[in-house]
Amino acid sequence: MANNEMTARGEWGVMRRHPRAADLALAAAVLLPLAVALPRLGWPDNDAGDWLAWTGRATGILGLAMLLLAAATSIRVPGWDRPFGGLARLWRLHHGLGFGAFVLLMVHALSLALAAVPLGLPVAVEVLFPPFSRGAIWLGWLAWLMMVIFLAPSFGFFGRPRYQAWKRLHLVSAVALLLALAHALPLAGEAWPWWLLGMSGLAAIAWRKLGSRRARLAYRIDTVKPLARGVVELVLAPVGRRLVHEPGQFVYLTPLDEALAAGRGEEHPYTITSAPADERLRIGIKDLGDASHALQSVSTGSMAQVEGPYGDFFGRHPPGRHRLWFGGGIGITPFVGGARDLMARGSVDGQVLLIYLANRGERAYYLDELESIAERLAGFSVVVHYYLERGALDVAFLVEHCPDFAGREIHLCGPPAMNAHLMRLLAGQGVPRSCIHSEVLDFL
């Protein structure tokens, strides 16, 4: 599993046939202001101008609701992400809501202006740019400008900024939110839905910036264990309360070592490789950027803060069902946590086969330990696939080592190209999407 700095980090995203209750609640919240306003808005006549004016109002309402809920879904509280399928998925929803808001709010302004074209171009232009006495409209423009400023990096308008710069710029969203509310409240017929959604969005931002630091736990870095070139496992001991987690979840780690060349005091997400029963917290870290590079030589005995756990890696699946795990690169880390957990429990529910995909032997870190667990634990086995020896993993390899793969619950985690290849391969063999759990996260 990859780590940090806007790079790939796999997470179980359970694809279900039925929508989650949390998703339905979110959809209801998006539609609430429009549902409340519909009796007032009515339904447009067959006249194109009426349709445009109606569309302008409806998209304004929907767009603002999405903007406020995008803020609300940016929240990061341990455990709150799981009803949404993990933090990665929750933030994908957040990203989608932000995208929807941006597009809909532009449709909103343009539709209202175009609806006035039959009344004359000066009227249409005045709808967009009225006298300054109609301040609410100008607040709307300012809110849109703020959205452009903080969303442009997220949507890569002008390339991607550094992670920390992007985070700081994203704070402009709070200003956009306030301006959008100030635009809508004087013009809206119904105020209470906006107060409700607005307060939830602002509370989420306030928690992220002011409250979440209190949720961090203090840890001391005991050991830095080199696994391969550019890959280490940090072993941390709690100083006070220890983190309670499930296998395969991840944490935000903030190292405080003053000798660090980069990333001191910066939080980045890393996968937990220890079993939940382990008193120590173990984290697998690959050198993928400045901060993770510096962590390769972090001082033992230095302090770090840990926030989490997040993610819903292994989710919930039918008991007794056999599982097939595909791990590649640093994407092996959640499976290390999973295997260590099975070992700690001493039994396996059903059978678990881990296929470890690596380029060559030197890059198959954790393999010795995983094979050792497989030798001692009935029901758990490991197979290695070296890309440089056999090329990309194919159906023949799969059938040879796991003939019943199509009937198993499949988890995969690795570099995006590996995930995409395996998804294609499995889909081609008729494996239902609902049995494949994988998600690549690139903006945690």
Partner: protein, 117 residues
């Protein structure tokens, strides 16, 4: 998603700029009648019902009969001002807040003449 967002952004900017440019380059509205029909208060007063509803707003008379059903406020509120000078109602959509420029443009469609004493 990124491509769609960027495309929407550019499309929006282009559309707004086009609208503003075309408006700036257009000649002043020649369709406005130079010599509007003269309407007395007596005649205005005869159109005081839902069947024929004229209103005077800042010296101009409008026939809004066909719009009563479409107006967002209840018909009774609209009808109350039929046959009268409704400038006060126009300027106070909500207390202290006039109708929008959008509504102002829409009103032009219903103009029938100029009010004289």
């Amino acid at each position: 998603m990124n491509t769609v967002a960027y495309t929407a952004f550019i499309a929006f900017l282009s559309s707004v700029l086009t609208l503003v440019s075309v408006n700036a380059l257009s000649s002043p509205d020649a369709a406005a009648p130079d010599d509007p029909e003269i309407i007395t208060r007596e005649e205005l007063g005869r159109h005081d019902s839902a069947d024929s509803c004229w209103k005077a707003i800042h010296g101009t008379v409008y026939d809004v009969t066909g719009f009563i059903a479409d107006h967002p406020t209840p018909a009774a509120v609209m009808i109350e001002w039929c046959g009268r000078d409704a400038s006060e109602a126009w300027d106070n959509k909500r207390p202290g807040r006039p109708h929008s420029s959008f509504a102002e443009g829409m009103l032009e469609r219903f103009r029938v003449g100029r009010l004289v004493d």
